[in-house]
């Protein structure tokens, strides 16, 4: 008997299709797939830089179906979330979105995500990694709430870039131009509820569209029909990584190692180390990790995530940072780095031992030229503002391009 691979049942080995899969398959002409949370997920569709520029110059869509989406509702929902995350959820108005962090008792970052306040007693929490177990733990003591994990049946699609508002207007979302950053709006999409938030992960003008999974493709088609004349194009993980770095946003697996998955002592990070101290609200009542964070705020973080503008053009991927050109004592390491085509700078995020921030900073950069390895030492300048922060990302109403 001849055994071929065809005779096996390999279905379980395959990544799950996204709710937009029929359309993604047509557009991923380079077949560049990876996976995220078990879902098939595009590294890129045509070319990384092309997609990156679609977002900076026109508009692009990013499949966020694999993100985790938890609907938390009930009289205790607000209190539960408020105890879990470091920001003050009680200050959130209905119809608003807030970027949040949650920590272990030791004040180490578990994950970041967004809370959508859909009503007095109704929230949606989104995050990159499955969090059912932690959410359950966080509910201890709160009986009056339910958590519905809609990760697998609620579709999300980010639409980002300067023409994104024009596209949504063309799609018929009347009044969308009045949506302010971090607000939520509800539309009737042929009888189905469509939720749109002015949020995103690119630092640019942009929105996220949320709809029940069974209508995902229909919504996609309406969006792409409207976007035809506005340069709409899908972008994948690699372009996203460039865009978020320019915006100065952190990414798990780069800037932070999720605390619950960390093996080595303090190889995870705190909000202060990630330069997100502004997101820790000590004025609100007790929350997870509070006392550890109070202590850290007093003492100062061991490391500080720092934005660097590095001389030359060779990306400082994986570089050590030193306090002198001689490179004798290393004082930190680069977490993400790239040449930024729109800013025209060699940018990086780096974890640097806090006491050294006021001194000189040098990166030792390795690079390759036709298989030969080279290295150079480049001066780094600290940058306070995000590398990319166009006015249109904040304007309401935004312009059409």
């Amino acid at each position: 008997m001849i055994v071929t691979m065809n005779s096996f049942d390999l279905a379980t080995e395959k990544p799950k299709p996204s709710h937009f899969q029929p359309r993604l398959d047509e557009l991923n002409i380079k077949e560049a797939w990876s996976a995220w949370n078990g879902y098939k997920f595009a590294e890129y569709y045509y070319e990384v830089e092309y997609e990156y520029f679609c977002v900076r110059n026109l508009c692009g869509t990013y499949d966020i179906c694999p993100m985790q989406k938890y609907f938390i509702s009930g009289a205790d929902a607000e209190r539960m979330l408020n105890r879990m995350v470091t920001r003050d959820v009680t200050k959130m108005k209905n119809g608003r979105v807030s970027y949040v962090l949650w920590c272990t008792d030791e004040g180490r970052l578990i994950d970041d995500g967004t809370i959508f306040r859909l009503g007095d007693e109704e929230f949606m929490l989104t995050c990159g990694s499955p969090s059912t177990a932690w959410l359950k733990k966080s509910c201890v003591g709160f009986d009056n709430l339910t958590i519905r994990d809609r990760s697998d049946d609620y579709a999300g699609l980010a639409l980002q870039g300067p023409t994104s508002c024009a596209v949504l207007k063309k799609m018929g979302l009347t009044g969308i131009e009045n949506a302010k950053p971090f607000t939520i709006h509800h539309f009737d999409f042929g009888g189905k509820p469509l939720m749109v938030s002015r949020t995103g992960f690119t630092g640019d003008l942009g929105y996220e569209l949320w709809i029940d999974a069974e209508h995902a493709v229909e919504m996609w088609d309406a969006l792409y029909a409207a976007g035809q004349d506005y340069g709409i194009h899908p972008f994948g993980e690699q372009a996203t990584n460039m865009l978020r770095l320019e915006a100065g946003f952190i990414m798990p697996g780069y800037e932070f190692n999720e605390a619950l998955k960390t093996v080595h002592f303090e190889f995870d990070q705190t909000p202060f180390e990630l330069n997100l101290g502004w997101m820790v609200d000590f004025k609100k009542p007790h929350f997870n990790g509070r006392s550890a964070l109070v202590e850290e705020a007093r003492r100062g973080p061991k490391y500080t995530l720092t934005k660097l503008d590095i001389e030359g053009n060779k990306p400082a991927d994986g570089s050590f940072i030193y306090n002198s050109k001689r490179c004798t004592t290393d004082i930190g390491y680069v977490t993400s780095a790239m040449w930024s085509p729109v800013v025209k700078s060699n940018i990086a995020l780096a974890m640097i031992e806090t006491p050294y921030l006021n001194g000189e900073l040098w990166a030792e950069i390795n690079y390759e030229k036709e298989l030969r390895q080279f290295h150079k030492v480049a001066r780094c300048k600290i940058q306070d503002a995000p590398f990319w922060s166009p006015e249109r990302a904040r304007l309401t109403p935004p312009s059409d391009f």
Binding site: E47, Y230, G231
Partner: protein, 539 residues
């Protein structure tokens, strides 16, 4: 105030760059521009409501990265976006698309010729090698080979070292390369006419040479040595049109305290005792300045805005003989939709790039023959790009504008000067040719701007409409640009400098001429140098 540390004549992108660097170094600078808008040949103009044309230059790759970064032009609103490949249209109806993605480009070449598909790798490697040497000279002042000053000797050694690093064989090849025609050069690589043709266009753009004329291979190199974010040979579009480049530099200039005055054409440079002391404007205003910098081409500077008697003997004649022949036209067209081309797949990645209506080597040469006879070809070489397919700011949604650069177009016709009727006939020839490859094209036309060398000279002040402010032939390159002995931005009159494309490294939107000139001025003033000398991509 009518006295400045420096007055710059002309708000072309080089004049603005020069002024920005002088202002950044703390000088009080004024730029005076004859037009009521700035930018010279790097300009965006709305001539028909809703459409913004890049009236002259249309694509960007020479812009020096380190200047962009150093002047923080992104923060001043500049975004350069790479565009995708170009489709070449042959006389016999065949097409060759230079696809953006490597595998598609290779397969397309293979469709035409397996030999040429392989040879393309060698051509690209050779061109990149040649480019890298030239690129290193772009932000440096050419040494004076007859001088014994330490700096000149140092710079000569720098050049020698760069050339020697190629190895002996390649060095000979390189020297030979400068004297070759584009056709001879390409013959060494390719078998098929369409592949050669697709590369040869770059060898004639803007120059009064043909594909078979010696020297056109350097022009080819000049057009592929630029880059977009380090990918050498790639071209990009400036979001908002080429004027966005000039506007960003102007914004940087203003942030350093510099001033720009438009509608302020210069009538004469004032010279006293062999020293420049300022300028007189066409309206009679006098502006005195310690330093005068001209952004105009060398012919114009010495023969139009200076008194012959103020110049040392021989300079006027040199300027008269400076080769600055007009050879190009430009037709800007507003379209109600995206044109469709025959024999091209309906592929947005291809349709969003450029088009080259090159025909064949023979057709390009015949077009040159017409130029020599003082007429235009009814089958000209047209290089087109549709910026609106990429740039949402330059045409209404769903509508487009197409930039068409035409080689050749004579500065004067055999039967007399240009007239509006003849200009329109020239424009008609261009759209007739495009219509042959895109049936229905003419029905899409909403508005059209036709520019012959005459219009270009009248508006931009480029003598004869020569796009480079002077031919890029070896007798006018590097330490020979614009003339031997005057290649270091200083003019034969004290306190006077040149900063336009007539100086090294020549034409194109690069900002290098303006920046290099600023470095020399600051050196003469004994101020610290603030101008980058190298480009960060050339390590």
């Amino acid at each position: 105030m009518n006295h400045y540390d420096a007055v710059i004549i002309g708000a072309g992108h080089n004049g603005l760059t020069n002024a920005a660097y002088l202002a950044k170094a703390g000088l009080d600078v004024l730029v005076v521009e004859k037009n009521d808008y700035i930018g010279g040949a790097a300009v965006s103009r709305e001539l028909h409501e809703g459409w913004v044309y890049s009236s002259c230059s249309y694509v960007c790759s020479m812009m020096r990265q380190s200047l962009h970064r150093d002047l923080d032009l992104s923060r001043h609103g500049l975004m350069l976006v790479p565009y995708l490949g170009t489709i070449n249209f042959a006389d016999n109806g065949d097409t060759l698309s230079s696809y953006h993605s490597e595998e598609a480009a290779y397969n397309e070449l293979k469709r035409i010729s397996r030999h040429d598909a392989d040879a393309m790798f060698r051509l690209q490697a050779d061109l990149t090698r040649y480019s890298q040497v030239i690129r290193k000279t772009l932000l440096r002042t050419p040494p004076d080979p007859a001088s014994f000053k330490p700096r000149d000797i140092h710079e000569l050694l720098f050049l020698a070292k760069e050339f020697w690093s190629l190895g002996e064989k390649e060095l000979y090849e390189y020297i030979r390369f400068f004297t070759l025609s584009a056709a001879d050069f390409l013959d060494e690589y390719f078998e098929t006419d369409i592949v050669k043709t697709s590369m040869a266009g770059a060898g004639i753009i803007g120059t009064a040479l043909g594909v078979y004329s010696p020297g056109s291979s350097y022009i080819l190199l000049h057009h592929v040595m630029g880059d977009v974010d380090g990918s050498i040979g790639a071209w990009g579009l400036a979001r908002g049109g080429m004027g966005a480049i000039s506007e960003a530099i102007a914004s940087a200039l203003k942030s350093y305290g510099g001033e720009i005055r438009t509608n302020a054409g210069v009538e004469r440079v004032l010279v006293k005792g062999g020293k420049a002391t300022g300028v007189v404007l066409e309206n009679g205003d006098i502006i005195s300045a310690d330093i005068v910098v001209s952004n105009l081409d060398a012919r114009r500077t010495f023969t139009k805005i200076m008194e012959k008697d103020d110049l040392p003997p021989g300079i006027y004649e040199k300027a008269q003989n400076y080769k600055i022949r007009g050879s190009s036209g430009k037709v800007n067209i507003a379209l109600s939709g995206l044109p469709k081309f025959t024999n091209v797949p309906d592929n947005p990645y291809v349709n969003r790039g450029g088009q080259a209506f090159s025909g064949s080597m023979e057709t390009m040469e015949r077009a040159y023959d017409c130029w020599k006879r003082g007429t235009w070809s009814d089958d000209p070489f047209i290089e087109s790009v549709i910026p609106s397919a990429w740039d949402p700011t330059v045409a209404p949604p769903g509508m487009h504008w197409m930039s068409n650069f035409i080689q050749y177009c004579p500065p004067e016709l055999a039967d007399g000067p240009w007239t509006p009727e003849k200009r329109d006939q020239f424009g008609q020839t261009v759209i007739d040719k495009i219509e042959r490859y895109s049936p229905g094209f003419k029905d899409l036309i909403v508005h059209m701007e036709v520019r012959t060398p005459w219009e270009i000279e009248q508006e931009v002040g480029l003598t004869e409409g020569n796009i480079f402010q002077g031919e890029l032939t070896i007798d006018q390159l590097l330490f020979n640009r614009p003339f031997p002995g005057f290649a270091q931005y200083r003019m034969p009159i004290k306190n006077m400098y040149m900063c336009g494309s007539s100086t090294h490294p020549g034409g194109g939107v690069s900002s290098a001429c303006g920046a290099n000139a600023a470095r020399e001025i600051l050196m003469d003033l004994r101020r610290p140098n603030t101008v980058p000398q190298d480009d960060c991509y050339d390590e």
